[in-house]
Symmetry: C2
Subunit: 222 residues, 2 copies
Amino acid sequence: MFELAILGLLQESPMHGYELRKELTAKLGAIRAAISYGSLYPTLRRLQAAGWITEAAETPATAEEIPALTSRRGRVVYKITAEGKERFAELIAQTGPETYEDAGFGVHFAFFSRTDRATRLRILEGRRRKVEERREGLRDVLSRAAVRLDAYTLELQRHGLDACEREVRWLEELIANERSGRTPSGSTPGTVPDTPGTAQGQSEEHIPPPPGQVQELRPERP
Amino acid sequence: MFELAILGLLQESPMHGYELRKELTAKLGAIRAAISYGSLYPTLRRLQAAGWITEAAETPATAEEIPALTSRRGRVVYKITAEGKERFAELIAQTGPETYEDAGFGVHFAFFSRTDRATRLRILEGRRRKVEERREGLRDVLSRAAVRLDAYTLELQRHGLDACEREVRWLEELIANERSGRTPSGSTPGTVPDTPGTAQGQSEEHIPPPPGQVQELRPERP
DNA sequence: ACCCGATGTATCGGGCCGATACATCGCACC
DNA sequence: GGTGCGATGTATCGGCCCGATACATCGGGT
């Protein structure tokens, strides 16, 4: 699941592990607290073995770098490959059951600006369905099992139910916005161009690299 | 983490795996969708190996049972041991870092009716602290990184932030209720050596409902 | 007669996590 | 001038949990 996220971040700019973790944490902060190194490094190795990313030695940057004063140990910089970009496009377009799970949905959503509109709608609606099911389950338990469960457990269910209802409303809004051709809170132009009109499912290759949008992520410290 | 939940449920009544899963799903439905068998059975084996639970053959109940007509295959009924009860008491009272994590907190909360008030407060406050930290992190990202993140990612953060704020408010209420002694005491008869003087909740504010009586879980009799 | 959905037990590979270990750097504090 | 500390940085290990899968029985509907 981090496969997608890592590939997505590396497409913006090459990074080393520590940096990657920080960016990941910033981008997915709403989903999970922080990705653990015990996940990150093995995933990186996996991606590398598959050929989606490559390991680049610490950049000497300008040739006349301070050569040996501070030897700048370690620091493995990872870089996405052409195959990796294809893989990313594939992952971002395909929807499995885990796409609608909490974490999976969050990751997909975080890269919506690189997802075409038809897929965005599919994911949003799938997620809504999922949350609605969950909501119905909670309602059932609350109405049916009030005798069997203690007050604290019921309170927990109620809080969960509230969260579900709220998320459904949020999703409804997002779906309505997608249909009417707006991006959330109206900002950030220059992302994926919308194709208004009919939702034609033509598989038009992979969405090419994000247009302008890519900006320098903290250039290597001098 | 399911160790606590399973021990807690088996303390109410012996059960077999399938039943256990359903009860778990009902009790923890607000936390996670459903516990997988790939977690349940290994956990059961672990608990058994540790001596916290024992495996009881399918009850012949009355001696003159229909002996072999329908052989009543399989059906392993698990039962908590004395050591298991001690273990449960230990687990429910102790608070580690994972106690304040989403899942860990949920499980602890679901068994609050078997937790003494001091521990309840400790957990509630610890959780609040955790969520507040998360909230601050999201605020930071939102205020500081609005330039670097696209509109969808920002929207995700906003939604996460909203959920955090809401949960903090929920926790505040619960804490206030605990302090003022309006414990929604759903304590099962004979389980908690509870602190006396906890009056039944006068309906005020939001901690509501009927103190649930634990009733016999259907000992299946088809 | 036949199939289907619920009930029921169980394993396997894989992903992710927390704990842990190690090493360097800049900086404040004494 | 030393000393310690927090941030930066890479990496592994054991363990929990999950989804997929396999297998078997039961009650009932068609």
